[in-house]
């Protein structure tokens, strides 16, 4: 036994000794078995110059051709060039958004750019002369956010390649997401990132092709999974936070420090730094939580951390426990707020402000939203450019569920005594309140929506119809759909067909053909269509049956009273006012408090119900449980036979009292 212990400690000693000697110890490795294919991995060493707001970097990209195709070119995102000039697609599409300052007042400090100084394949010759800007989305030849390298030698099927780059960049002042504001830096979309090669059959690809879009204000993500080793050199007094986990910090003699970070199975890498961050550490379910927050916002520290924990528990129970070892929450200062409310792998940003009121759950709202993105888009890595609804819609749906579960369905976003609002209510209101609800289908690419960026089409509308789907199939089936879809596509790149397949499969399992052969009809309306949903109770009429039926009914020649009739014949007319056809429930409530729950397939433009009854109908209500959450107008979903203003009186009387008090309060000073 003693010998065994001795051998154990001997082995452990040598393992540790060797581990310390390497740049990455065994304990830093996240997963014994890779969670993804790890097609594109990056080693980056970057130096931040806080005087000139510049980055100087060396970068190695390990890329694997997992297809059977021969690759002759490689495109890269150079997204900092979106901030290079007014000709960029990003600038053009942002026109009128107020993101860019008045051009008369701009200085060099406002703009940003990135330039690849050298690019080599392994240790070959510099190929920077072979780089050319391409514009796959809009033919805007002034846009320099995608560059293509023409390879001197093609990359053969299943082969690996190593690209070595030297690049420099000027960091823009924060307009949106990335940049600097005073001494706060948020570096997102900051390095040359390779596009995604889609062989034939992957998502919508009919032939093998690169998928590498220009930078647009509305969309920004689609990348392969990989491992990231990033070293960031910054002034020693600057606190640095980043995607992944910190492996070590080296202090330099020139007053700087180099922070080494490592991440596995992630699609991007983002970092932030500022001398004014306060670091708050916590752990939850084995995950390290690190909050980087301005010390003036410390009153909200618990709000950021607790909401993250609640989201971790909620999704952990329904989809999968958060698999990464760390989550970093960055709260930008108010002057850098445009870097807030963004999601990056294992790092989220949530806006903050000094003295944030308790009744406005903005910290919780953004932390939970960006955390859900860790699942939808960071793990289930959809193409945000082409199917923005698949990450923002899913995230909005889950975020609402989590917020409503944590804080209440009527007050999870605004919680004042007299005005309150739940998260799901909020998303529904954004959808049903659109200027033109028929504007476009949700399947367009992010930049192809008419007249700018109707975010409601990829945030609110999908969230609302996902809630509607939940209403139709039930929460248990919905959770199973999501779990099936998530399990099948985590650390991969699905498209809409894959979600629809999961829905069809699970609904068939749980409900048979209750909703038809499949659920494609649902997606026909909500995803591909531009129609809306509005059901209404048209009319309720009662006809008094004047007499019982009487007369000679057979050959007996005696007058008989046959089958005495009920007192009334009640007729209810229901209407479908918009295009979307969904199955709905109808509650018919009679004056003696008896109720009938009817089903209507919701297909016809109008539907009638008839009752022979001794008591009158008191009211009829379509969708009494609000399962059809996307119904535009709840006011016309029900109708009474006798007007009732009691609840209006009760509510308005409370307003009357407030008006009295305000009037009288003002009169004190008159």
């Amino acid at each position: 036994m003693d010998n065994a212990i001795r051998i154990f400690w001997f082995v452990l000693f040598w393992v540790n000794l060797f581990s310390v000697g390497s740049s990455l110890s065994a304990q830093d490795v996240w997963f014994e078995v890779p969670l993804s294919e790890r097609i594109a991995s990056y080693d980056i060493s970057v130096k931040l110059d806080t005087e000139l707001h510049r980055l100087t970097a060396t970068q190695t990209i390990y890329w694997q051709n997992t297809s059977d195709d021969t690759i002759r070119t490689i495109p890269f995102h150079l997204y900092l060039n979106a901030f290079k000039n007014t000709g960029s697609t990003f600038y053009q599409e942002s026109y009128g958004s107020g993101r860019f300052p008045d051009l008369k007042n701009t200085t060099e400090a406002d703009w940003g750019w990135i330039n690849i100084d050298k690019i080599k394949i392994e240790d070959g010759e510099d190929l920077s002369g072979q780089l050319r800007y391409i514009h796959p989305d809009d033919d805007n030849d002034k846009d320099q956010t995608v560059v293509e390298l023409v390879l001197p030698q093609p990359i053969l099927p299943r082969a690996k390649t190593i690209l070595k780059l030297n690049w420099t960049a000027k960091i823009p002042k924060i307009k949106i997401r990335t940049g600097y504001s005073k001494d706060f830096y948020l570096q997102a979309q900051w390095f040359p990132k390779i596009g995604v090669y889609e062989p034939a059959g992957m998502r919508f690809a009919e032939v093998g092709q690169w998928n590498c879009h220009q930078y647009h204000p509305t969309t920004e993500y689609y990348a392969n999974f990989g491992n990231y080793k990033v070293s960031i050199n910054a002034p020693a007094n600057f606190i640095v936070g980043a995607s992944g986990t910190r492996t070590r910090v080296d202090t330099q003699s020139d007053g700087t420090a180099t922070h080494h970070f490592y991440g596995e199975d992630i699609i991007d890498f983002t970092w932030t730094t500022s001398p004014n961050f306060e670091v708050v550490k916590d752990t939850h379910s084995g995950v390290q939580l690190e909050l980087l927050i301005n010390s003036e916002y410390s009153c909200c520290t618990d709000r950021y951390l607790e909401s993250a924990k609640h989201a971790m528990d909620y999704l952990g129970a329904r989809l999968m426990p958060y698999p990464f070892p760390k989550l970093t929450i960055v709260v930008p200062p108010l002057h850098g707020i445009n870097a807030g409310a963004m999601e990056y792998p294992t790092l989220v940003t949530a806006p903050g402000m000094y003295g944030f009121p308790d009744w406005l759950r903005s910290p919780e709202y953004f932390v939970i939203h960006e955390y859900v993105h860790q699942y939808f888009m960071m793990m289930v890595a959809t193409n945000e450019f082409e199917e923005a609804w698949m990450d923002e819609g899913f995230t909005s749906y889950w975020k609402s569920r989590i917020l409503d579960d944590a804080y209440g369905i009527k007050n999870s976003v605004i919680d004042l005594r007299w005005v309150r609002m739940g998260a799901m209510e909020f998303f529904r209101s954004r959808y049903v309140g659109m200027d033109n609800i028929h504007l476009a289908e949700s399947t367009r690419a992010g930049w192809e929506y008419p007249n700018g960026s109707p975010r409601a089409l990829f945030y609110s509308k999908p969230a609302t119809w996902l809630k509607t789907l939940e209403g139709i199939v039930g929460v248990a089936t919905m959770d199973k759909i999501m779990k099936t879809y998530f399990d099948r596509w985590k650390f991969r790149h699905p498209c809409r067909y894959d979600f629809i397949d999961a829905v069809n499969e699970v609904v068939a399992e749980n409900h048979g053909d209750e909703f038809g052969e499949n659920m494609n009809w649902f997606f026909h309306f909500v995803l591909y269509g531009t129609g809306a949903c509005d059901y209404a109770v048209g009319s309720i009429q009662h006809y008094e049956n004047a007499t019982a039926s009487a007369g000679i009914w057979d050959d007996s020649l005696r007058v008989k009273k046959e089958n005495p009739l009920k007192k009334y014949q009640a007729k209810v007319v229901l209407q479908r006012l918009e295009e979307i056809q969904l199955p709905v429930e109808i509650l018919v409530h009679f004056e003696d408090d008896t109720e009938v729950l009817e089903q209507w397939d919701g297909k016809a433009r109008t539907h009638g119900l008839t009752y022979e009854t001794d008591v009158r109908i008191a009211y009829v209500e379509i969708d009494p449980s609000q399962k059809i959450y996307m119904d535009l107008n709840i006011l016309n979903n029900s109708k009474r036979t006798v007007p009732d203003t009691r609840s209006i009186w009760a509510y308005v009387s409370s307003w009357a009292m407030r008006i009295q008090q305000v009037f009288q309060g003002v009169s004190f000073f008159i």
Binding site: G355, K410, L635, T645, I648, W649, V652, Q661
Partner: protein
């Protein structure tokens, strides 16, 4: 002691004027009714037949509110216009009533049981008090403008200059507090000017306007002491009412109870107005006698 005596006198006058108190309450109720009754008819006309209004039983319902505004977008414009018009009428009416209230309080000891001189006072001093209110409105706008300018100057450069948001908030708080202090001072001078207008019964109000300033500054300890004490008392009552209101709301006690406690608070507000004027009459009498 002068302060306590003045307040005691104010409370005594207010307690002896239950008729006036009731009248002011009824006027308040009437004006709130002018806003609310058309609103009720409007809402009743649109919503009486839908069962969606049941969602209001639990209080404000965002979905109902949202869908209602989507269907009837003119509602908020109607409501705000109506509230504004009625509010302006209410202010004018209160200027009108102030003449009556002060006439009555001034003659209380000789003429306790007649409301006749109340209405005479209302009509007699209306235009003078309206002009006085206009001048003081200009003063208040100037004071507000001055403090806003001081705040703007103190945070020039905003977040481009300040590293601390707390510093900006602190300046805002200080400016707001000082503004409140000065605003209260001018509200008080305004009230003393009203008393002087009624006491002196002069056509030209400028002498009363300046007279009020002179009187207040000469007796600053008593005048501002009484006013601040009464204002503090009012804030305290409002605070406790807020607690009670919140408690009733939280406990889900029927809205009738909420409404009734609200009415008690309105009565208290009217009472404070009367106490304020009553104590000023007393301070003025003492000041003149001295």
């Amino acid at each position: 002691m002068k302060i306590i005596n003045a307040l005691k006198y104010g409370f005594r006058l207010a307690s002896l004027n239950l008729k006036l108190w009731s009248l002011l309450y009824l006027i308040n109720l009437l004006f709130a009714g002018l806003v609310v009754v058309p609103l009720l008819y409007y809402l009743g006309g649109k919503l009486a037949m839908t069962k969606a209004t049941d969602r209001l039983i639990g209080g404000f319902d965002f979905t109902l509110f949202n869908d209602f505004l989507n269907q009837y977008p003119e509602f908020l414009r109607l409501l705000s216009t109506q509230t504004m018009v009625v509010g302006i009428l209410f202010i004018l009416l209160y200027v009108f009533l102030t003449g009556g209230i002060l006439t009555r309080l001034k003659n209380m000891e000789t003429d306790l049981h007649r409301l006749g001189n109340f209405w005479t006072g209302c009509g007699k001093y209306f235009w003078r008090l309206l002009r006085l209110s206009f001048y003081f409105m200009l003063i208040h706008l100037s004071v507000a403008g001055l403090f806003f300018a001081i705040f703007s100057w103190s945070v020039a450069g905003g977040l481009d200059y300040f590293t601390s948001e707390a510093a900006i908030f602190f300046r805002a708080k200080v400016c707001f507090f000082l503004y409140g202090f000065f605003a209260l001072f001018f509200f008080m001078v305004h009230d003393y000017a009203k008393v002087l207008v009624i006491t002196n019964n002069r056509r030209l109000i400028f002498r009363d306007f300046w007279g009020a300033f002179r009187f207040v500054i000469k007796n600053i300890g008593t005048t501002f002491g009484v006013y601040l004490l009464l204002f503090g008392l009012f804030v305290l009552v409002s605070f406790f009412y807020g607690l009670l209101d919140g408690f009733i709301h939280q406990m889900g006690i029927p809205s009738l109870v909420l409404f009734l406690t609200g009415q008690v608070f309105v009565l208290a507000q009217i009472g404070f107005k009367l106490v304020n004027f009553g104590s000023m009459v007393k301070v003025m009498k003492n000041g003149v006698n001295e």
